[in-house]
Symmetry: C2
Subunit: 206 residues, 2 copies
């Protein structure tokens, strides 16, 4: 990514962060769920979204697959394009957080550097990294999108599919704010644990 935009003046908004917090009951926040395909990221994100919205907190799921239907549909799956996919997701999450909407980001996001770059973009405390941890064999048994089956077949034919955890690396978070174990914890327990964290850290203030 080359920075080409120059000669740009940033407009100061008229809405102060405190006014948004008063209106929404949230402080700016990006909940970033990372983990293998099939680990349960999207299921947890959507259940969390539903509970937040039902209790009056604006929240929205940004999802790898869904973004690729729109904003990121010009991107493929090369390492550079994966990095750009995550960069744009992070930038959109930052806009949501700034708008007072809790951004629930569900992305495999295998590279620590890409995740750390988003953390570095926002204020301390705004980036909540959630490691949705499940052993590869469990994810592969679940295989909700049939990706593991496809990857194994492709590898047997000598065509790498670059699936994270199979023939592409996953760099586990070393210091995530929240570490979930979905082989043993239910979706409800995971959601509860994230909500408790957000309240404890004053990201939710009512």
């Amino acid at each position: 990514m080359t920075i080409k935009a120059t000669n740009i003046i940033r407009h100061a908004g008229k809405v102060a962060p405190d006014e948004r917090t008063a209106a929404t009951g949230n402080r700016p926040c990006i909940v970033w769920l990372t983990g293998l395909s099939g680990c349960g990221k999207s299921t947890i994100a959507m259940s969390l979204e539903h509970q937040l919205v039902a209790s009056g907190h604006p929240a929205y799921v940004l999802d790898g697959d869904n973004l690729r239907h729109g904003l990121n549909r010009d991107l493929g799956f090369s390492p550079e394009e994966r990095a750009e996919n995550i960069r744009r997701a992070g930038e959109v999450a930052r806009l949501f957080a700034d708008a007072g909407v809790i951004a629930l980001c569900s992305f495999i996001s295998p590279y620590a550097a890409d995740r750390d770059a988003i953390r570095a973009m926002v204020e301390p405390g705004q980036f909540v990294e959630v490691f949705v941890d499940a052993p590869l064999n469990i994810c592969e048994q679940r295989d909700p999108k049939g990706l593991y089956k496809k990857a194994r077949a492709a590898i047997a034919e000598g065509r790498p599919l670059m699936l994270t955890g199979v023939d592409a690396p996953y760099e586990a978070p070393r210091h995530p704010e929240i570490h979930l174990h979905t082989a043993s914890q239910s979706v409800e327990e995971c959601v509860k644990s994230i909500l408790a964290y957000l309240r404890r850290e004053s990201r939710l203030v009512d």
Copy 2:
């Protein structure tokens, strides 16, 4: 823009549009302000944002300049890059609208085709095109960013700057939902007129 993302499964969200409307008092909506540099787009957008948030309606300004600091900082000002700038802005606006936040988009967006492409992406009634109309000579007198001065100097030296309205075209909306004349209307009148439209068309429901 080449579509490269394939093999993508869209997750259905768990939050129904009616639940979001109940929580926010808005229906999904993109207010798209288009017009020359200096016509008053950003000033109107920010005043509108402030009034909406103060009355409990989530709203957020997406601004050409501000997006270029983050999401679109890899884009320059060639015709293709301008088109991609507007495409991404439209995609982000669609995500905001889907999240229940009124997206207030302030972009020169000189090409009708680019604006129409965003209109075509969303449901009928969701895209509210606002033509922020002011004669070039008025915009040039205001010149809040000094762009006209810079463009005239560049042209005098034989270097085109591709500034909309000076040495690059502006295609005025033919059927905008709202047509504002900022040489004669105040910011307050313009904001009032947009709010009245949103209420009349049931984009604001409380």
